[in-house]
């Protein structure tokens, strides 16, 4: 990447510049009850400066459009541009969430159709589109489970979470007032059934399991786990971050899931935007459907309505009706792919991950040998003795033109490298990536350690001092 320096907005500001011409003000009313503010402290720039500033900043980023971005668990797949175009139609863009529903029938029917797709693909009849992201979906789902126990007359105390779980799972269960009991994984990266059974009792509210798991494995005991939970009056919360391995093929309802969130910004390709916005709808069984958050779009007669109040519902989880701009994109993705395309995409994602696994597992340690789903998990065990860790491998990949894989997650594997190629990458790119990874492993064998430790060298910045960032905390200019 070329070296680019870009100063802060406040450093290129000069008093008297402006980038927006507004209608002149021809009156001087003041009904504020206070004097007008004198100074704010914002920069002053012209339009060309602002444009250049942000374009230059953009050039310091990697993106899935420009580069392979194999971040495990994050699903950096192609973001079709038709989705961007359609979501910007004025009939969506300039639509206010509190307009009379009679003036928003198109938007409501679109939401209704998206619910139908999510329900068909998961086999679960209840859908709420409200949650803002995966973690917010987890909160919605766990609140629904909390409510269900309350309605059954006795609240339970404990939520089981495997040690391989994403951090949002225990954080969410704790927000709902539950105690977290961690279930260690087996040597195969699966739920330890003995420990699970020993931990399961009538105080267990739910088990939060990611399936396919954060280790990239479909747990073969998943149905048995679900049955055991149900026999004990507990619920199966499935973290659906990895739904993109099975969408269009396997329905979570068929392996016993009670509640699952779906990251539209993963499986259904709404762009990650450098850290959001996401969208995390949840799907639930018929039993749990009455407790879903409000608002909910329903169809009565030929017209669509928004139900804003419902006695049984857990209530409202955010203002308005969810990230509508992500609904348009996700539905556009679904319609473009069709059910057959979605199935094919899942298969290709799994095929590509296994291809990478089979092409690298002679040089990199594979903690859980065997077929994986849409992401393959490796670590640095064969490189560690030479003094090279996952971090060095990740940073060296950048020098080979690739964004690093997810590193140090899941925590069950020491120095994990989680590689998710997605269905979007051609075989040639996979081969280039495999070539780079093999080259790095060979370089380690040849003892080129010092060179690798210096990487990256050609990026806009080299390794940054994270300790200083905390010690000398500076979060504003």
């Amino acid at each position: 990447m070329q070296e680019i320096e870009e100063r802060l907005l406040c450093e290129i500001s000069r008093k008297g510049r402006r980038a927006i011409d507004l209608e002149p003000i021809d009156s001087n009313h003041n009904r504020l009850g206070v004097d007008e503010r004198q100074s704010i402290g914002l920069p002053e720039l012209s339009e060309p400066q602002v444009l250049r500033h942000f374009v230059r900043l953009s050039q310091q980023n990697y993106s899935i459009d420009a580069n392979f971005y194999p971040l495990g668990s994050c699903t950096m797949k192609h973001n079709p541009r038709q989705n961007e175009k359609f979501s910007r139609f004025s009939g969506f863009l300039n639509l206010h969430p509190l307009q009379p529903v009679s003036t928003a029938q198109g938007a409501l029917s679109l939401m209704y159709e998206l619910k139908r797709w999510l329900s068909e693909l998961t086999g679960l009849p209840g859908v709420s589109l409200n949650p803002a992201a995966g973690a917010h979906g987890e909160l919605a789902g766990m609140m629904v489970i909390h409510k269900a126990h309350e309605m059954r007359g006795r609240q339970r105390k404990v939520v089981l979470v495997p040690d391989s779980a994403h951090g949002t799972n225990p954080a969410t269960a704790a927000m709902c007032g539950y105690t977290i009991k961690t279930i260690p994984s087996t040597k195969q990266g699966l739920v330890d059934m003995d420990l699970f059974k020993a931990s399961l009792n009538d105080d267990t509210a739910a088990f939060m399991l990611t399936n396919p798991s954060t280790c990239g494995i479909f747990d073969p005991k998943v149905k048995e786990i679900a049955d055991l939970l149900h026999e004990n009056g507990a619920y199966f919360y499935c973290d659906g971050a990895n739904f993109n391995a099975i969408a269009g093929k396997i329905r979570p309802a068929d392996f016993g899931v009670d509640v699952m969130h779906i990251n539209l910004h993963k499986t259904f390709s709404t762009p990650h935007g450098g850290g959001g916005p996401g969208s995390g709808p949840i799907v639930v069984t018929a039993e749990l459907d009455p407790y879903l958050p409000v608002p909910n779009v329903v169809k009565t007669g030929g017209a669509y309505q928004l139900v804003n109040e419902d006695e049984k519902s857990i209530g409202r989880l955010k203002s308005f009706q969810g990230h509508f701009g992500m609904f348009t994109r996700a539905l556009s993705y679904m319609l473009g792919h069709g059910a057959d395309g979605i199935r094919r995409a899942s298969e290709d994602a799994v095929l590509s991950a296994n291809y990478i696994r089979a092409s690298l597992n002679d040089l990199y340690h594979e903690p859980f040998p065997g077929n994986c789903m849409h992401e393959c998990l490796l670590n640095d065990r064969h490189q560690r003795d030479a003094g090279i860790t996952t971090m060095d491998i990740a940073k060296t990949l950048i020098e080979h033109g690739f964004h690093p894989m997810t590193v140090f997650f899941p925590l069950v594997v020491k120095n994990a490298m989680l590689i998710e190629p997605t269905e979007s990458e051609p075989k040639e790119t996979l081969d280039d990536f495999i070539g780079a990874m093999r080259q790095i492993a060979e370089d380690v064998k040849l003892g080129d350690v010092e060179k690798l430790k210096k990487n990256p060298i050609s990026t806009p910045r080299r390794r940054v001092d994270e300790v200083k960032a905390v010690r000398d905390l500076k979060v504003t200019w």
């Binding site: 802060l8 927006i20 009156s27 001087n28 009904r31 504020l32 009850g33 004097d35 920069p43 339009e47 602002v50 374009v55 953009s58 050039q59 310091q60 993106s63 973001n79 038709q82 961007e84 139609f89 004025s90 300039n94 206010h96 009379p100 003036t103 938007a107 803002a132 992201a133 973690a135 704790a174 747990d219 073969p220 149905k223 396997i250 392996f255 762009p271 935007g273 850290g275 857990i314 209530g315 409202r316 989880l317 955010k318 009706q321 509508f324 701009g325 319609l335 069709g338 095929l351 296994n354 077929n371 950048i398 997650f409 051609p426 075989k427 910045r461 080299r462 940054v464 994270e466 504003t476």
Partner: protein, 425 residues
């Protein structure tokens, strides 16, 4: 299928390398009983043109704000968005990158997050700000939870008219997390006092008295701003401990409710209790100024069940839109925009007051206020909507919450006044 690069021969080669016969062999962990019996009741692949036709039809069935006079606010405001904003947020490098976990290749995202935080801090008069929350409602809720952690107290007091959907969100979270919500004066069990200004009815609150009450009881003061353009004209709520709210008004389209971005600003001493991502300045190995996500030990990926919040993905691109628009506006532009909004609202109020039986309820307001009508506001809103005018938000009874922005023209106001006159006759 246009999105999938593998050819059949690619697939065969890859299967051979893996050592399996067909792709379903890779799904051999899936128990036989978990395979679906039939196919989903869903259509197959469609061309871009076919999908476009479907979306054109969905969009056509909506009445957009630019299709007629528009006076609805109530927490979401119809403002102009400069062309530069949408161009920047559609740049591949911003649109299609992930959360900046690898700082060496994410300085673009990290620097704008730092600039976002800086401008939010300047607007609110606070020392620090985070990288964004989901929206106004969850930022208020997270602020209340933070106040509970800091004070180790349970109760929240709401002063004035908090946006009803913010309040409902707070109530939902509190129903599982615990804590009481009331509206009387703070006491020694009060964690925080929450006040929205301008409040849901548009009224602007003097914070001095509330600050005093908070100091006497040891509660934190949380100020909520749902219309952030107002901060171009109103004094910064710098007496607050935490200032939160909604960024939508600057750079983010109404989009039928989202995505928007919540902002979260507070004093530096509370940084360890803050929710969400924070970007900080540091240096790289060559001593160059660099930016990085920092204070991570508060967050779920490190602290798990003891994290300050479960938030992970936030509103990055919306925060970028806000940052670009605010950079374009700058100091004088934001002041001008705010003043223009206020003048338009004052003129609208004067015009409404000329209708017999209509009175303006507010003592103070910025760009939104409550008008008392001689008829039911809900009826009026529905009737005018049928005639292509979005009149405002029916508060129940005869009260209408109505707003004007820089988008409001004299002829919009005239159409509204004439239409109301017909209805109140």
């Amino acid at each position: 299928m246009r999105y999938l690069p593998h050819t059949d021969s690619d697939r065969q080669e890859m299967l051979a390398k893996i050592g399996v016969n067909c792709v379903d062999d890779l799904y051999d962990n899936v128990p036989a009983e978990c395979w679906p019996k039939g196919l989903p009741d869903l259509p197959t692949t469609k061309s871009e043109l076919d999908v476009e036709r479907i979306f054109v039809n969905y969009a056509k069935l909506n009445h957009a704000a630019n299709d007629g006079p528009f006076f609805l606010g109530a927490g979401v405001y119809y403002h102009h968005i400069p062309a530069t904003v949408d161009y920047i947020i559609q740049r591949s490098e911003f649109l299609t990158s992930y959360t900046p976990y690898q700082p060496e290749v994410s300085q673009g995202t990290l620097q704008y997050v730092f600039e976002f935080q800086s401008m939010v801090a300047a607007l609110t008069g606070m020392e620090i700000a985070n990288a964004s929350m989901y929206d106004g409602s969850t930022s208020v809720t997270e602020a209340a939870l933070m106040a509970k952690r800091i004070t180790k107290r349970e109760d929240v007091k709401i002063f004035g008219e908090l946006h009803p959907q913010y309040r409902e969100t707070l109530e939902t979270y509190f129903s599982v997390i615990g804590g009481n919500i009331a509206s009387n004066d703070p006491d020694e069990s009060t964690a925080c006092v929450i006040v929205q200004s301008p409040d849901f009815h548009g009224e602007i609150h003097d914070l001095t008295e509330l600050r005093k009450k908070c100091d006497e009881s040891g509660a934190l003061l949380i100020v909520v701003v749902a219309e952030i353009v107002s901060l171009g004209l109103l004094p910064a709520p710098e007496v607050a401990d935490i200032v939160v709210g909604e960024c939508q008004s600057v750079g983010i389209p109404m989009m039928y409710g989202g995505p928007y971005a919540g902002f979260f600003a507070c004093s530096k001493k509370h940084v360890r209790q803050m929710p969400g991502r924070i970007c900080g300045e540091t240096v790289d190995v060559e001593g160059r100024r660099s930016f990085v996500l920092t204070m991570n030990t508060r967050e779920q990926h490190i602290r798990r069940e003891k994290a300050t919040s479960n938030i992970c993905t936030n509103q990055g691109l919306c925060a970028l839109a806000f940052t670009v628009h605010l950079s374009l506006l700058g100091e004088e532009g934001l002041k001008h925009l705010a003043k223009l909004n206020h003048q338009k609202a004052c003129k609208l109020a004067d015009a409404l007051a000329t209708i017999e039986g209509v009175t303006i309820q507010n003592k103070t307001f910025f760009n939104e206020f409550v008008a008392e009508l001689p008829i039911e506001s809900n009826d009026l809103v529905e009737k005018l909507a049928a005639n292509g005018i979005i009149a405002g938000y029916a508060l129940g009874g005869n009260r209408l919450l109505i707003s004007a922005t820089e988008m409001t023209t004299d002829s919009d106001v005239e159409s509204l006044i004439n239409a109301i006159k017909v209805e109140v006759k």
